[in-house]
């Protein structure tokens, strides 16, 4: 026994890697904040108003945002790109760019919690907690330098999202969406993980930096294990970014989830998936780009075309926007397909502008659902909106036109840049397909943007209403609703306004954001 103790005492102590907490501070703030909100809300159940939990969550998101911006300025100097936590996490401009993006999206979404409040009771603290937790997972995905850390971030993000989709109490639609998302999300995670295992087998490491070094020193061409691993990583992440042919869950889930959650998912889950995709393929597997670039190109073409064509035939607004967001994912893939710094910069610019637009668009739809007092809005429900709410109409039209890529919005430069990147990498056919799909997409975007200015209801309905003497009553109810919406200090309106201001403002004054995105491509 004493021999054992002597042995233990004499042996050299295990060296632990230094942990730089400041590098993972945004994630830590999110997690600690989530635990605090959860504790406070369960300890003071009766007295914690929903507004308080929304305020607490907003404060956490703002602190995280401020810390991310601080990191950005502090790392502007020499040691901008470095690996911390034993090489498992990167603190580079790419990661910090996504920290800022995710913090902004989380803040906007939590403010929309107020919007959810009218639809169901008592779930607001959970909503705030889950948004904070899933954001921490997304941040971890963006900064992960090890495939296993990436997987952990992916799961933290996904598992929180499965619950968020079903957050609406007593909603069969939410639950059905949730289980579909869960099943396909679990499947894609398993495929992703098998890809990680195969890459590990082929290169002997899961660290993205070491994978790059290994592949740079050992020329591995047409190795079955490595190719299968790369393919499975692409499939697994393809599900997350809803690239065609792995998109079929997206319309159902987008349609069934509450509108603020849909906007959050469409922004954060997609941006996190793209962060992982860009880092793994552009940073780790760039030496084997002749293997994956054609595949990514095919995915981009399919995603752009199928998204645009299927969006044209939809009747439900959220479903239309789901296909539109699939179409947008194709454009972002185009930046990766270009496989150049210019392409990645274009993708990053697209991602940050698209995230703000999509959160704003779904916030607008949530506000419309409240205004009209029903869920599952069809395109025809947009008719006559211009008279009922000029503010919502203006915001909706601006955000839809931004997705279409209209000039004077951020959407124009986003689409222009990715196509330009594809052209400058000499991918002319794919750039042509991108422009065709953008033209198809303009058709349904314009239809959506013009509908609010049409007369409310079809003529037959109006006639029938007049004959039965119910038309007056109908308008009276609508007017009352309108007044109610206007008199309340509306967090949703603030979120929508912020999204519109950012989209139009940075669309006109585009320089700074473009240069920020272009500088964020410097990967570790």
């Amino acid at each position: 026994m004493s021999f054992l103790i002597a042995q233990v005492a004499s042996s050299t102590p295990i060296k632990l890697p230094p942990i730089e907490y400041s590098a993972i501070a945004p994630e830590l703030i999110m997690i600690v904040g989530a635990v605090v909100v959860l504790l406070v809300s369960s300890l003071v159940t009766k007295h914690l108003s929903k507004a308080t939990s929304v305020a607490l969550g907003s404060v956490v998101a703002i602190v995280s945002l401020v810390d991310s911006i601080y990191l950005a300025f502090r790392s502007g100097g020499q040691n901008a790109n470095k690996a911390v936590l034993a090489g498992a996490v990167a603190l580079d401009k790419f990661a910090i760019f996504f920290f800022v993006l995710f913090s902004i999206v989380a803040l906007l979404t939590i403010l929309l919690g107020q919007d959810l409040m009218d639809l169901n009771k008592g779930r607001i603290p959970e909503f705030v907690v889950l948004v904070l937790l899933s954001t921490s997972g997304a941040m971890l995905m963006a900064s992960a330098l090890d495939l296993i850390v990436l997987f952990l971030g992916l799961e933290i993000l996904s598992i929180s999202l499965y619950v968020l989709v079903a957050i609406e109490s007593g909603s069969d639609r939410g639950r059905e969406s949730s289980i579909k998302y869960f099943m396909l999300g679990g499947f894609s995670s398993a495929v992703f993980l098998y890809g990680v295992a195969l890459i590990y087998g082929a290169t002997g490491t899961t660290n993205i930096g070491q994978i790059f070094t290994f592949l740079a020193n050992n020329l591995i061409k047409s190795n079955g294990v490595l190719l299968a691993g790369m393919g499975m990583l692409l499939v697994g992440l393809g599900f997350k970014i809803s690239a065609v042919p792995f998109h079929f869950w997206a319309p159902d889930v987008y349609q069934g989830a509450p509108s603020p959650v849909t906007g959050y998912m469409a922004a954060t889950a997609k941006a996190a998936g793209f962060a992982a995709l860009l880092r793994v393929f552009f940073s780790g597997l760039i030496t084997n780009q002749s293997d994956w670039v054609p595949v990514v190109g095919t995915l981009a073409v399919l995603t752009m075309l199928v998204g645009a064509i299927l969006a044209v035939v939809q009747r439900d607004i959220k479903r239309t926007l789901a296909y539109s967001s699939i179409n947008q994912a194709g454009f972002i893939l185009l930046g990766l397909y270009a496989a150049s710094n210019r392409g990645i910069g274009a993708s990053l610019y697209f991602l940050i502008t698209y995230s703000v637009v999509i959160v704003g668009a779904f916030a607008t739809i949530g506000a419309m659902e409240r205004l009209l007092g029903k869920r599952g809005l069809q395109l025809d429900d947009l008719r006559g909106l211009a008279k009922k709410s000029p503010f919502l109409t203006f915001s909706f039209v601006a955000l839809i036109l931004a997705q279409a890529g209209a000039p004077f919005t951020t959407g124009f430069l986003a689409k222009f840049n990715v196509v330009l990147a594809a052209v400058s990498s000499r991918h002319y056919p794919v750039a042509l397909v991108a422009m065709i799909s953008a033209a198809i997409a303009v058709f349904f975007y314009l239809r959506m943007a013009l509908l609010p200015f049409r007369a409310a209801g079809s003529e037959d309905e109006a006639q029938a209403g007049l004959e039965e003497g119910e038309y007056g009553g109908g308008t009276a109810v609508l007017v009352k609703e309108d007044v109610k919406v206007k008199t309340k200090v509306d967090a949703a309106a603030v979120v929508i306004a912020v999204a519109v201001v950012i989209t139009v403002g940075l669309g006109i004054w585009a320089g700074p954001l473009v240069s920020v995105a272009n500088r964020a491509v410097l990967l570790f």
């Binding site: 296993i148 997987f151 952990l152 799961e155 598992i159 499965y162 619950v163 079903a166 069969d172 639609r173 639950r175 059905e176 969406s177 949730s178 289980i179 579909k180 869960f182 099943m183 679990g186 499947f187 995670s189 398993a190 495929v191 993980l193 098998y194 990680v196 295992a197 195969l198 590990y200 087998g201 002997g204 490491t205 899961t206 319309p251 159902d252 349609q255 069934g256 035939v313 939809q314 009747r315 439900d316 479903r319």
Partner: protein, 101 residues
């Protein structure tokens, strides 16, 4: 008799394919869920085999991460399945048909 590592790799590839096949062909949500777990365990076997073949302990530690994540997924997944099928008699994927198009 020594068993070459590639046999384990082939076994885990078969298990993974079996899981994927089960996931797409079975209609009962619980069986689909079990197929998912089979896929994850096939991945674990792959990790351990490669770890052994490469003489690197990293692959075996990854199995722990995968196990923990799988457990967390089970908790959330069964919760969602309970919530959706509490009011229905069977747990088949064919009942999930609100959304069309």
């Amino acid at each position: 008799m020594t068993v070459p590592g590639s046999w384990y790799l082939i076994l885990s590839a078969l298990l993974f394919s079996l899981g994927a096949l089960g996931f797409f062909t079975r209609r009962n949500v619980l069986i689909m869920f079990m197929s998912l777990e089979l896929m994850l365990n096939a991945v674990n076997l792959t990790f351990v085999t490669f770890s052994r073949m490469l003489g690197d302990i990293g692959g075996q530690t990854m199995v722990f991460f995968v196990l923990v994540v799988a457990a967390a997924e089970v908790v959330v997944g069964l919760g969602i399945i309970m919530a959706i099928f509490r009011r229905r008699s069977s747990a088949t994927a064919d009942d999930l048909s609100i959304f069309r198009g």
